[in-house]
Symmetry: D2
Subunit: 103 residues, 4 copies
């Protein structure tokens, strides 16, 4: 559980509304069993490198089935000896501030 | 309210724990009055281009005060004639799926 | 000259080929007078925060004129007391390796 | 050869100068045999998904050996029926403009 991966995958050849394609990715992420959190600009998944990248690849393979061009943004954060960071990164900031933030 | 900006600002010269610096940015974002949502890998802010970029710049100026190297990641999504997308992008995916996702 | 900004701006409502829109951005970047370098996945511009962000905003305003949805990726690297990093970051890696890399 | 991947991997626990670590990644990328191009903010590698991701993973495994926190940014561009885009994306923009850009 040492990697947090946020990723976003968007077809460029399907017009301005792409939520149908995002929904298919969310289905794959949800079925993976890994902890995840969807946000307005991408979804964060937590696990080992191989696990989170396997989920990203499954979403890519699915989208490639009927999209001719796909733009993919990914950011990962590895930290040794830490887990459950999907929640703890926000909590840690809240502890520094001494109050809740919108999350 | 046509731009969603997700951004993340990290000092490279302060060691592996950076939540003190992230907390200062959150304070600036919160005080801006713009709608926002903190996630595990960055914070999303919604507004016009000038508004969201002014918030990012204020966080940068603050961090530059005592950090010698800063890494900044930003992704923005502009969409004409749409607002309140901090919430509606997730809802739109949930409607396609016919159920809630973790968010 | 303390900020390196790499950015990429893509319309989502214009189909899979977007080089016409990228070319318009390059024209704006080139005319800005700031040092820049186009790469396969984005263009790097060097200057102060206000300068590089003004260029990004000009590209955004131009694209918004006839695009309904735009995806923007930006990454910036601030470093105190350093300049001309468009070239020096690559040279520095080559010096460590003791040979040229493809750039 | 349908995927262009740009990636950048940075340790957060090694201070402001990280070119030693970037040089090690470049060595791995160079030895992979895949076409690549180093830029000021990241390196672009071209190949199939499995190929470019294997290179990114090798760089990650190497860095994880002696870094406690690593920040990774990746952006990929898939396009069906296109190859050699490390060069052709820039050429295509130059053709639209009718002149060379700085690259």
């Amino acid at each position: 559980m040492s990697v947090l991966l946020e990723f976003s995958m968007t077809p460029l050849d399907k017009g301005e509304s792409v939520s149908t394609y995002v929904a298919r990715s969310l289905e794959i992420i949800d079925r993976s069993g890994l902890p995840y959190k969807m946000g307005p600009m991408g979804t964060c998944v937590e696990g080992e490198w191989e696990e989170v990248m396997a989920v990203a690849q499954a979403c890519y393979e699915r989208m490639r089935g009927d999209c001719r061009r796909i733009s993919i943004a990914m950011r990962a954060d590895y930290r040794a000896d830490k887990g459950n960071r999907l929640e703890s990164k926000i909590t840690s900031v809240e502890n520094k501030l001494g109050r809740k933030v919108k999350s």
